[in-house]
């Protein structure tokens, strides 16, 4: 996991060499605070960026599987750390680099998983914290952000609703491939997506992603009821 991350950071940093400008923040929109005692926040100084990076390292310590490598940003993390997205050209370049990381199923089997396993993975938000002993057996945390089974009340709303996924979107090759790719590395489709890079980041295995695919596409899955 950690080495995968370091490698990824290195590769992606290399991929966008010369894009230093996208690390620079645009001035975030300021909202005037209502209280009389308050002054307007200081403008972000030009020299703040190195200080932020230093702080995001120095204020943390390694604990178990959560190493300090996690405090180093890779290309998309760096580019997407402001209230405003990078320009379209930068987004495209980042997305192309992420797209190249997607591993398509070796045997062409996209949806042949077990939707019941997929349901468990979708419901579990476990894994990869410093209280987890190993970097394996993680949940997908899908329900944290998405509606899936129409009968589930406790569903997040940060992501789009996935209720009736295959019923609404069909099962064309295009939809199936897009979904696999999105699950593997969401940043390939939107560099600043809020969604974790499940396959690329080693959060879920290929087999787990196939189970989640089944949960989304199987006609028997509660998602499509």
């Amino acid at each position: 996991m950690n080495s995968a991350f370091a490698l990824r950071s290195a590769l992606l940093s290399a991929a966008i060499v010369g894009l230093a400008a996208c690390g620079k923040k645009e001035e975030p929109a300021k909202v005037e605070a209502p209280a009389p005692a308050v002054q307007a926040p200081a403008p972000v100084a030009d020299d703040l960026q190195p200080k932020v990076e230093e702080m995001m390292l120095a204020s943390f310590k390694a604990n178990g599987i959560a190493s300090l490598d996690r405090q180093k940003q890779d290309a998309v993390q760096k580019a997407c750390s402001s209230p405003t997205q990078p320009d379209a050209e930068t987004m495209k370049r980042l997305e192309a680099a992420e797209m190249a990381t997607i591993q398509w199923p070796s045997d062409g089997n996209y949806t042949g998983g077990d939707w019941k396993e997929g349901q468990k993975i979708a419901a579990s938000g476990r894994g990869l914290t410093w209280t987890d002993k190993t970097p394996d057996n993680n949940g997908g945390g899908c329900y944290n952000c998405h509606a899936m089974d129409p009968n589930e009340v406790s569903e997040g709303t940060i992501g789009v609703s996935l209720e009736g996924y295959a019923k609404l979107r069909g099962t064309s090759e295009e939809v199936i491939k897009y979904t696999w790719g999105k699950l593997w590395n969401a940043k390939a489709y939107n560099a600043c997506s809020d969604m974790p890079r499940n396959g690329y980041g080693g959060i879920l295995t290929e087999a787990q992603i196939r189970h989640v695919m089944a949960y989304l596409f199987d006609p028997q899955s509660p998602v499509n009821q």
Partner: protein, 155 residues
């Protein structure tokens, strides 16, 4: 701030205190012997729980009301209040249909104490909450469904 807490008597806290408290009349000796209704609290279904508190098959009554949220943010703490307008209400029990042990709490109300109690209970899942009331020697009940949700990242 409320300063009443400063008047709080700092008593009790250990096994040995029990006898002492009984001796100074703070609690009755029989309390120390635990008349706790084990059968009722161990009951695994509604019929058994009702039987164990001596309620048999209580009639539904609109004179009893349950104050509980329609939907709870967490099942570990669900506020439940029971008010009975039945004359001579002397006993109130709170039961949670889908908990492994249904009976959560029971209250015996001497004359002069209002039939109006509130507490907080654990609920493992969405379930009916029952209020069982004994008034003038007879048992009555009502129910209300409380939905329980899950929150947080789950990590």
């Amino acid at each position: 701030m409320n300063n009443q807490r400063r008047d709080t008597l700092k008593a009790g806290g250990s096994l040995g205190m029990l006898g002492l408290l009984a001796a100074v009349g703070l609690i009755k000796p029989e309390m120390a012997q635990a008349a706790w209704n084990k059968d009722a609290f161990d009951a695994k279904d509604m019929d058994a729980a009702l039987a164990a508190v001596g309620a048999g098959k209580p009639a539904e009554s609109a004179e009893i009301s349950i104050t509980a949220p329609d939907i709870a943010e967490n099942g570990a703490v669900v506020p439940v209040g029971v008010v009975s307008k039945l004359p001579k209400t002397e006993y109130i029990a709170i039961m949670i249909e889908k908990n492994p042990a249904m009976l959560a709490a029971s209250f015996t109300l001497p004359e002069g104490t209002a039939a109006d109690v509130q507490t907080r209970v654990k609920m493992g899942q969405t379930s009916n909450v029952f209020a069982v009331v004994k008034a003038d020697g007879k048992f009555y009940m009502t129910k209300k469904e409380v939905k329980v949700t899950l929150g947080g990242c789950g990590g």
